[in-house]
């Protein structure tokens, strides 16, 4: 799975939690929680969703690394196999 596919999975997971999100309007480099109304329960459900879809269990200590959409995608890419990820097509 390349970064593009990972991004799609992340956005799909996010949209399950926050159906009002318009995927096209999400900025990749701005803090996610400034763009989407996520409380702590939503955030946990988001991580549970990613765990279910990608098998990556994100420890609580790493939450602070996951600020932007780019951060989340890069983190997941690194945790899945550790190989350099393919550039998005």
């Amino acid at each position: 799975m390349n970064d593009h596919d990972l991004r799609e999975v992340v956005i799909a997971t996010l949209c399950r939690i926050a159906p009002e999100v318009a995927p096209g309007e999400l900025r990749s480099d701005a803090p996610l929680r400034d763009q989407v109304d996520l409380d702590s329960m939503d955030w946990l459900n988001f991580l549970v969703g990613l765990h279910g879809r990608l098998g990556v269990d994100i420890p609580e200590a790493d939450y602070r690394k996951l600020v932007t959409l780019d951060d989340v995608v890069a983190y997941l890419a690194a945790r899945r196999g550790g190989t350099p990820s393919m550039p998005a097509p």
């Binding site: 009002e20 109304d37 409380d39 702590s40 329960m41 946990l44 765990h51 269990d57 609580e60």
Partner: protein, 403 residues
């Protein structure tokens, strides 16, 4: 015979729309079974029954808008026969004639009774006076409503069915109106007093981080869980904040059921009950909270969850505010609010340290309690949160809240 009435599912509810029956005549039911789905201004609710018996007759059919208290089904009590039920029903019918005349209107003298009413000119609509009035109230034209009464007469049920059917609800506007009605009643009737205190959270956040460290994401606890548990345990010691103000007096709740304020993504909020929080383990409480939030947002709550809460807890910390000054949800008598957890300078043992701190607040009903007890109640929540390891089980030093 048991009369099953449309229950009130909240302080502001005076009518509901019967959406679906989950049972049919002949079905056995027991306490706690979901028998119907009713739409309120806030949500579609699974309505439970509180008696055991056998469904005898579904008096109303969906979709239909009905006032709270309307008998919507009849049930046979255990051991009761349909014959006995019929007898009883006839007796009731004599005692309380239905409001809408169901007998055919008397024919004017000289008219020919042989002509069936069905062939009457379409322009002439038979309609009962009650139905005409209800249609006028609802802004409906009786001429376009299909009648199902004698001789095709439009009955009050036909009018209400027609009213329930076509117009899709503006849920956001209705919810705003319902919240407004409940909160206006609260501000009009309840003499609120407000208290707040800062609670250091270093111990509970460290304890939580250690506990969550080795757990998969599906088994982690949110900070809300120890906060809710601390409130529930403190309520055992200060039961005058957990219950209802009814008929000029305070009635203690039978159990510590926390109404959890949940904001809905489409706007508005709902505060369904987490039951018996004082006796739940933290893991069980977390599971119950996850389930409740998911069902609140999916609009699949149960009727008992809409009415059982003995106090409301609201957590606006995720939205960034520090202090909540709550409005009590009647007939409850108190609301506990938590704001944002912030790092603040804190003096401990003569040293200034940086500490995660939350401001906890209490809005309480002066008819049921005084500020002195309110202060002790908040202090007890603060004290419990300094010993997070004791929150997992109910401390034996507390008297049981069960009645």
């Amino acid at each position: 015979m048991i009369e099953f009435k449309l229950p009130s599912l909240g302080a502001e509810m005076d009518e509901g729309t019967l959406l679906e029956w989950k049972v049919k005549p002949g079905d056995p039911v027991k306490k706690g079974d979901v028998v119907a789905v009713v739409d309120t201004s806030k949500s579609a609710i699974d309505v439970e029954i509180w008696e055991t018996g056998t469904v005898y007759e579904l008096v109303h059919q969906p979709p239909e808008v009905l006032p709270v208290g309307t008998v919507i089904a009849l049930l046979l009590e255990p051991g009761e026969t349909p014959e006995h039920a019929e007898m009883e029903r006839r007796r009731m019918a004599v005692a309380m004639p239905p409001p809408a005349p169901s007998a055919p209107a008397p024919l004017p003298p000289g008219s020919t009774p042989s002509r069936p009413a069905a062939e009457a000119p379409a322009a002439r609509v038979r309609v009962s006076p009650a139905a005409r009035k209800r249609a006028a109230d609802l802004g409906l034209d009786v001429a376009v409503i299909a009648g199902t009464g004698p001789q095709g007469a439009v009955t009050i049920e036909d009018v209400e069915k027609a009213a329930a059917r076509p117009a899709p609800k503006d849920r956001a506007a209705e919810m705003r109106r319902a919240i407004g009605a409940a909160m206006a009643r609260s501000k009009r009737e309840i003499p609120h007093y407000y208290l707040a205190t800062d609670i250091p959270l270093a111990r509970v956040t460290q304890w939580l981080a250690a506990r969550n460290r080795d757990r998969p994401v599906t088994e982690r606890l949110l900070l809300a869980v120890p906060l809710l548990k601390a409130v529930a345990l403190a309520l055992r010691k200060y039961p005058e904040f957990s219950g209802f103000f009814r008929q000029d007096r305070f009635v203690p709740g039978a159990g510590v059921h926390l109404g959890v304020a949940i904001s809905l993504r489409q706007g508005g909020l709902i505060a369904p009950a987490l039951r018996d929080v004082d006796v739940l383990s933290l893991d069980a409480l977390m599971r119950a909270l996850v389930d409740l939030v998911a069902r609140a947002r999916a609009l699949t709550l149960r009727s008992s969850e809409m009415t059982d809460a003995t106090i409301t807890v609201t957590n606006l910390g995720d939205e960034g505010v520090e202090l909540v000054q709550g409005v009590i949800y009647p007939p409850q008598v108190a609301l506990v609010g938590f704001g944002r957890v912030t790092e603040r300078p804190w003096v401990e043992n003569g040293q200034v340290v940086v500490m995660p701190v939350v401001t906890a607040s209490l809005a309480a009903d002066h008819r049921a309690s005084d500020g002195h007890r309110g202060a002790l109640f908040l202090a007890e929540i603060a004290r419990l949160l300094q010993a997070p390891e004791t929150l997992d089980t109910a401390s034996p030093s507390y008297p049981a809240a069960r009645s």
